[in-house]
């Protein structure tokens, strides 16, 4: 009778195999730890970069809108009270980070919607603010975090999208004077468009305290209303009538003169008030004034 051998327990090759497997297992484990360490270090760095980027945006937003200037390589410094913007970026930050802030123009279409179309109009009341933080990863790869926001000058807009036309205009009545023809012509009322876009005069209203009627209104050399047209209503008009004048544009930065308002009677000594309504419905009204007697 043959008794079969029972190969119980370890043989040498089993022991070597188990050692080999254990080595592979431990190598895998250490690889896992290495990767986890690297990933957490990268996450830490990214978090710092995010805070630095956010600080860049916040700093730009804490500055007065008028102190911002277009730049693609901006650097920020805090002088203990105020953030200052210069074009000497990118700037080095602690922990091996580098930050560059950008202030970019915003273009809008005729409906005031932001557009990337090159033919869009530059909005003087908006800027794109960008803050980009860069660093080099542990593997030597360049990394970046970029944050962007849109800032708008809501409190004192100068452009046509956020501010009324009237807000961009001044009326100077200091030189108003009665001229010629029995002192029935009012001249030298100056309108200045301080804004960065044109405004359109749509209506004119005048109040006076003499018995007289108005027959003509001229802006520079253009007749914008008269009793026989253009504009409405037709016919000579009494004090306080709203005159729907021929729409007339005043371009950005320009000064025009209400060169003639013709009355039917001598007006010397009377007190007047002038209201101008623009195409957007906004209005500007002068103080009461008593024109001087001109030549």
């Amino acid at each position: 009778m043959k008794i079969f051998s029972k190969k119980q327990g370890f043989v040498f090759i089993d022991a070597l195999l188990s050692l080999g497997l254990a080595s592979i297992f431990f190598s895998g484990l250490i690889g896992y730890f290495l990767t986890a360490n690297q990933t957490s270090a990268e996450g830490f760095k990214r978090q710092e970069a995010l805070w630095a980027g956010q600080e860049g945006l916040d700093a730009l937003q804490s500055m007065a809108f008028g102190d911002l200037s277009l730049t693609t390589t901006g650097a920020l410094t805090f002088d203990g009270t105020e953030w200052l913007l210069s074009s000497s970026g990118p700037q080095s930050l602690p922990s091996g980070l580098s930050r560059s802030v950008r202030v970019k123009e915003v273009k809008r279409d005729e409906d005031c919607l932001v557009t990337t179309d090159p033919s869009g109009t530059v909005d003087p009341d908006s800027y794109y603010l960008e803050s980009e933080t860069t660093w080099t990863s542990l593997q030597g790869h360049p990394q970046a975090v970029m944050l962007q926001t849109l800032r708008t000058r809501w409190n004192a807009p100068e452009g046509s999208c956020f501010g009324s036309e009237a807000a961009r205009v001044d009326i100077d009545i200091s030189g108003a004077a009665w001229h010629l023809h029995g002192k029935k012509q009012l001249r030298n009322i100056i309108i200045h468009n301080n804004g960065s876009s044109s405004v359109t005069v749509a209506k004119v209203q005048l109040w006076w305290d003499y018995t007289s009627s108005v027959t003509q209104v001229f802006l520079d050399l253009s007749k914008i209303w008269s009793s026989g047209g253009p504009g409405s209503p037709l016919g000579e008009q009494f004090s306080g009538t709203l005159l729907d004048v021929q729409d007339t544009s005043i371009v950005s930065g320009s000064t025009v003169e209400i060169s003639k308002i013709q009355f039917t009677n001598d007006m010397v000594g009377s007190t007047l008030t002038l209201l101008i309504e623009f195409a957007d419905g906004s209005q500007i009204i002068s103080e009461n004034f008593c024109p001087i007697v001109g030549p």
């Binding site: 008794i3 079969f4 043989v11 710092e48 804490s62 007065a64 009270t81 105020e82 922990s95």
Partner: protein, 188 residues
């Protein structure tokens, strides 16, 4: 009847060779394990420091954006160890400052600098843990070129209580919280 050869177990020479290999491999394995434990410690510390810093800055953001007023007069701003006082959305005075407290850490008394917020008439609460050292805490008033208060700048540096060599670097961040659009915030 024939008996087969008994091949169970290891021979003496195999055992010796096996032990020799084990002696070479075992120290490496132990080192690997120890290194792994170090990595776990490092990762844990880094994550905690990062979380503490982030939560802190986030919390300040939240508190300030709902604040009614910033008390610049009674706060000590623009210096290290700033005391920052503001009025919260409920109209109560809040005070934020760094406070030194003594704790038993690994059976030894240690002084830990922690950030504290105190609502008027209530017990203070901590913004940072006992084993996190707030090494720097500073609040600056941020003004625009017209002198208007437009924001507050917070600078914070946090480190582990007992950093070892090779531990992750400190969390150091500053953030400016803009007040300009928060119409309810007024400078007292």
């Amino acid at each position: 009847m024939t008996h087969s050869k008994n091949t169970k177990g290891l021979s003496l020479i195999e055992t010796v060779i096996y032990l020799a290999i084990l002696m070479m491999v075992l120290p490496a394995m132990v080192l690997f394990l120890l290194r792994g434990v170090e990595y776990v410690h490092t990762i844990d510390l880094r994550v905690r420091i990062e979380q503490t810093g982030s939560i802190l800055l986030q919390k300040m953001n939240e508190l300030l954006l709902t604040a009614r007023a910033v008390d610049v007069t009674h706060s000590s701003l623009g210096v290290d160890d700033s005391v920052f006082i503001f009025i919260n959305k409920g109209g109560e005075q809040m005070m934020m400052q760094r406070v030194d407290e003594e704790y038993l850490f690994l059976d030894a008394p240690r002084t830990v600098s922690r950030l504290q917020v105190q609502k008027e008439g209530e017990d203070p609460y901590w913004l940072t843990d006992q084993d996190m050292q707030v090494e720097q805490w500073r609040v600056d008033a941020v003004r625009n070129s017209s002198g208007d208060l437009t924001g507050l700048r917070f600078t914070v540096r946090i480190n582990a209580l007992d950093p070892k060599e090779g531990d992750p670097s400190v969390f150091e961040a500053s953030t400016t919280i803009v007040l300009e659009n928060q119409t309810q915030v007024q400078e007292l």
